[in-house]
Symmetry: C2
């Protein structure tokens, strides 16, 4: 069986509506603060972490680029919370998602590549791949949920069943 | 009356204990995730935004450098919540703080300059100056509280009463 090749689209707010928020200044409401010394781009993501006594966490993920081609061997979802990823550099990354379902199949997957100025916030229950950094090791700020309850489901696919149609540059 | 000159120290976790958290990977607990493709530096700040029905917000502040010398004309505090600032670039910034008090005076102020890899989280009630970006216009991710309740107190000082002892490079 040949692998399913998932096309990789540029990330846009419109395309990402079923999956959560694109965190970016372009096109976002903003207003001036600090006596003119800053613009506040306000409330850029629905941070949904308080279910069942959860609390917001801030973390940094230091991500190493994935090997080429990118095989999608597993997807995960957080049934209790959203999870936001914002790059702390201008390195782009790949975003692989599927809308909430209890019967995830390869053909449900959508893949996006960020600009150098975008983060994402996966809505609760949205299937997503682990962080797929590009180009170089890079840091991301993560806002997710702290709490003792199990909050990660995983689905696994066959080896070489799904690959991304994206030419990842080698190191 | 001559201005009070506040010395500017390098930001360290130890020095910042009375004011909140330094958000950085150096010295932070971490563990491997994503089949070895990422390190998770876990729970780097006490995000305290849920008082009185508050919810966490993610915002981006686009900050313009302050004029030189930096005069501290006002300080603010958020009585209901913490507020985190993480740079989305490697531009350093200045942090001016004072421990919680209802009688803030100029001599209470402490000032720090970040490395290129540090953010801060002001604890609830900690006095702080507005964002003081250095070098160039730069973006910061802010995690603070959404809610209708008043949540910002300000104290004002005289013109040229307090300046930072820091040589800000001109644009």
């Amino acid at each position: 069986m040949s692998a399913l090749k998932v096309p990789v689209e540029p990330l846009t707010r419109a395309a990402f509506v079923p999956f959560g928020d694109v965190i970016e200044t372009d096109g976002s409401a903003h207003y001036t603060i600090n006596q003119g010394h800053a613009e506040r781009f306000h409330d850029l993501a629905r941070i949904d972490v308080q279910e069942a006594g959860g609390k917001p966490l801030i973390n940094i993920f230091r991500a190493t680029p994935w090997p080429n081609p990118v095989c999608i061997a597993a997807m995960e979802r957080h049934p209790l919370s959203s999870q936001a990823f914002v790059p702390l550099s201008t390195t782009p990354f790949l975003v692989v998602v599927a809308a909430p379902t209890d019967a995830l199949r390869p053909e449900h997957l959508r893949a996006f590549v960020t600009s150098r100025r975008q983060g994402v916030n996966y809505a609760r229950g949205v299937w997503h791949h682990a962080l797929l950094a590009l180009e170089q090791q890079s840091d991301f700020l993560i806002v997710d949920r702290g709490g003792a309850e199990p909050n990660c489901d995983e689905v696994f696919f066959g080896r070489d069943e799904i690959i991304l149609d994206y030419p990842v540059k080698q190191q």
